[in-house]
Symmetry: C2
Subunit: 247 residues, 2 copies
């Protein structure tokens, strides 16, 4: 039985921010797909061009905007026939609306995917911890999304951001995973001690080292949430095979 | 310091055969890159379209040719601006020449990369075991490459192929990694017992479960060999940053 791939089945991954997080996202797409053979997996094109200016530095006014590089990378996906664009980088979503307008392709929003799973996992009124980059927190990327209404957020303190979260993310990006894990676990423990009943991993580097197996509280993996939605999008558009010819 | 990316720096990964092996290859490209920040990694576009007819079945005359689907997938890479095409699937290299001709882009040959490392690792006259698909072995994909001259090959028996190697590869493709590891380790032990001093992992599913840490003899990972060459190709083409302006 062959399944025909329509061009619009193809998920485009605007990646490289960072490149290891892109692979983690693509792996989570495979994990989210019921497949026993290669051919049953979802078609993907990825543009993992890491030469995108630092998103947090740009937000802080300390570096050039990443928008032009992200648009160029996204256009590679359009040229390659992607029917959807997803971005496995939370901070990059600060430019989500401009990217959507510039690329003219449907996109799924990482933060909305994470918020939907967070609200389902935590009961009403529960406090949810948020680990993310300085730019993601300071911009209100999570806090100001409509779906965030009613969530009781707990965030790291400024000192924890400077001493644990940001150095932890940088260590993961540099491939020093044990160091990153130790720093980010420390920040997670502080949120748990202050009453968080679940933790949103709101930067795609964080689930590379923190997960259900080693975190001090239940985690909501934003990367996995987006991966599940991207797979669902593609499977829902998969053309059924033609009916067998009459004998 | 910004490094300018020329379009031709971009490595194109013709993947999806299988999709997990594609991610293993891309991860090995990251491991082969000296990088402390996202921006120092190599630019990659990947076409992981798993809807390619089975390569081994096609070689055995039991299924349609994968060539048209591979060409279509490769054209996505050309459209996305790749300057090189690599294919993290050994068996797909049975169509290497037609792909190279059809795509009109430079390509690196996986088997030549693996043979170069195998010859460097094993002394002259050493026996080298080869674990690969039925089609890779039967077609002489490794055995008939010019670089293979002088190698003393040891292959699994037909029964080992049918009972261990092919079911092991299929188990990996279906995500049953422990089962795949057990079957492929059994085949590896048989080659070691017959005098192999090193083992070429000549199918990209195999290093997903067999590696230096658990194989009964030293392994040459064809996937990693190609990844190192792809990174080297891109780094050698990276444009140096412009000299600083005079003060």
């Amino acid at each position: 039985m062959m399944t025909v791939v329509a061009a619009s089945d193809v998920v485009g991954v605007l990646g490289g921010m960072g490149p290891l997080a892109t692979l983690d996202f693509m792996r989570k797409m495979l994990d989210a797909t019921p497949a026993a053979r290669d051919q049953e997996h979802v078609p993907v094109v990825a543009s993992s061009i890491p030469q995108v200016p630092d998103r947090t530095a740009a937000f802080c006014g300390q570096g050039e905007s990443p928008l032009a590089a992200m648009l160029a990378s996204g256009r590679r996906l359009a040229d390659a026939g992607a029917g959807l664009v997803v971005i496995p980088c939370n901070t990059a979503h600060l430019w989500f609306e401009q990217l959507q307008e510039g690329l003219g392709l449907p996109m799924l929003h990482l933060v909305d995917a994470a918020l939907e799973e967070a609200l389902a996992a935590a009961g009403p009124g529960a406090r949810i911890g948020l680990l993310a980059t300085d730019a993601t927190l300071a911009s209100g990327l999570y806090l100001n999304r409509p779906a965030s209404r009613g969530v009781q957020w707990l965030q790291p303190t400024a000192a924890e951001m400077l001493e644990q979260v940001m150095p932890g993310i940088a260590a993961v990006k540099a491939g020093r995973l044990a160091e990153g894990e130790a720093l980010l676990a420390q920040a997670a423990r502080a949120l748990a001690q202050r009453g968080a009943s679940a933790l949103v991993l709101g930067c795609t580097e964080i689930p590379l080292v923190l997960h259900a197996g080693n975190a001090p509280l239940p985690v909501i993996d934003a990367t996995a949430a987006l991966a599940r939605r991207a797979v669902g999008w593609s499977l829902s558009r998969r053309r059924p095979p033609p009916p067998p010819a009459a004998p």
